[in-house]
Amino acid sequence: MGSGLKTFESDVLVLGGGPAGTWAAYTAASQGVKVVLADKGYCGSSGATAASGTNLWHVRSEPARREASIRRFLSRGNGLANRRWLEILYDHTKMGTEQLIELGYPFPLDEHGRPISRNLQGPEYMRLMRKTVRKAGVVILDHSPALKLITGERGVSGAAGVNLETGEEWSVHAKAVIIATGGCAFLSRALGCNVLTGDGYLMAAEAGAVLSGMEFSNIYGFSTEFSSCTKNFLYHWATFYREDNSVITNTDKRALAIEMQRAPVYARIDKASDAIQVAMRRSQPNFFLSFDRLGKDPFRERFPITLRLEGTVRGTGGINLVDDTCATNVPGLYAAGDAATREFVAGATTGGGHINASWAICSGRISGSAAADYALGTEAAAMRTQLHFRFTERHSAGKPARSMDMPSIVKSIQEEVIPYDKNLFRTETSMRASLARLNDLWKTIRLNEHDPNDVRALVRSREAASMIATARWMYTSALERKESRGMHQHDDYPAQDNGALYRVLISGVDSIRTQREPQSGGPDRS
């Protein structure tokens, strides 16, 4: 790579500057440690939240309400959600939103002038988080994707990547690293998700981290066919139509997907009263922006819709956590937000809707605090062993091969993960066939050689590798789960197996290993 190397030293390094990463960085810095945050895009506008907006768990002060709410979530989590984590989530959502009020987020007010902290507008929220993180003294590296963790005898000791603007490499040597790089939506063009290619999963797994729940990564969101606006919420007020204007009465996503495989499906938001229409416009400005710009009225005219794969972004799989500090099994490595598994709080159902956004706050706060403590208890000397790590030195060791056509590789990956008949309707035969093709793609991408002066090509290649790895973990875990549960609908095993409750843990990049971790779950598990 042409233009040199920038090195940094810090106590805590945060990878990813969405909600999870900014909460982690802010919390760690507030504990007085030195923090560097690197984002692939721009901390403040990048990621799934910044482009849209998110609902939060509706938390209240009354203990009875807290208990009732936690119980409902336990029963919705398909036996995999866990009471202890839900309690932590509830309380951190509450503390986090109180902090947001203090930080000046302009929540709407109720009739008594009290803030209603139940929803966050993405651009506003993330602009505030960037400002907050900077004020706390965090060094932010924008347009700086991390590509690899630095590991030493004592676990993880930093990360290395490139700066897309300058073409330089960077490396940060840190005592603790938090992965908050978001999920993987396979470049399906879901809103704000093009930066989310599962990079953190691959970096963590290469360092020996275990992932879990990767079978729960096949969430599809409603989207207008022509745009990226993947928003599910407003479709509560929609009617779905076939080409001939007949109404589709079964609006289950799988039923709609079957319709879509045959012919175009349309929606019209025609169940919203005038008052609700006003509320909708105020709540989701960018949903309506698209229609306004095309001169279309979604309340009166039908428009073509599709289901766009959101992968683990609204799914629940990710890096496994070994305790309630968001630590992974690798010393010094923590995970937060969509990069971490959300099975403990959402089980096998979607984390979208409001769990994930609350989880980003909660896991960000917890991991930031724990990583700061870990850094304070770790000696810097031990970390110096690997100083002068350079990304290219590690990677140019492989034998040069031809440079690959990345768009066609990405297309090949998408052909295995996006089609409904492969990923929404899963069967043993089709998953095995996809896995075989993905294994071949993995071998191919491992040989990819790019122009050493082209950092963008390097990043594209790592993104493709991350997506292939994610897809392989997804189908390998899905094959291991011989039942249907939540979003994992296995058409060879259509029933939920209530006799066997387990999580599927998975690890390894070249050769992949799975392990079932028995769970003693159930709604009243304590």
Binding site: Y42, H58, R72
Partner: protein, 116 residues
């Protein structure tokens, strides 16, 4: 997909270069930025939100790489409409304080999510 950068309006502040999550623009010394990688645009409208002079237009269409990088008179009239909708810019206040999502949520879900 990003469709237009008004050379007349642009004050060369390079904010769009900075905030675009997928690095679509390139900075050019003493010049307005170029739309260098239109195909990487993820249609998130955030460059528009940050542009202080409403010089950018993002088409809601996902694929418009073969359209010319200009705007129609109708589109030109909508320059800055996203910034206005979210209440960003001088003399405006954030419309986040007018958010009514909670009212909509109460109509369709309980404490644990969608009512079925």
């Amino acid at each position: 997909m990003i469709k237009y950068l008004s050379e007349d309006r642009c004050i060369q502040c390079n904010l769009c270069v900075k905030v675009c999550p997928t690095s679509v623009f390139d900075k050019v010394a003493d010049h307005f930025p170029t739309i260098s990688r239109q195909e990487d645009c993820q249609t998130c409208f955030l460059c528009e939100a940050y542009c202080p002079v409403d010089a950018l237009y993002v088409s809601p269409m996902l694929d418009n790489t073969n359209e010319p990088l200009t705007v129609t008179p109708e589109e030109s009239a909508m320059l800055g409409s996203y910034r206005q909708a979210i209440g960003w810019g001088k003399g405006r206040s954030s419309t986040a304080s007018l958010d009514m999502t909670h009212i909509l949520r109460d109509l369709v879900e309980d404490d644990a999510g969608p009512r079925s």
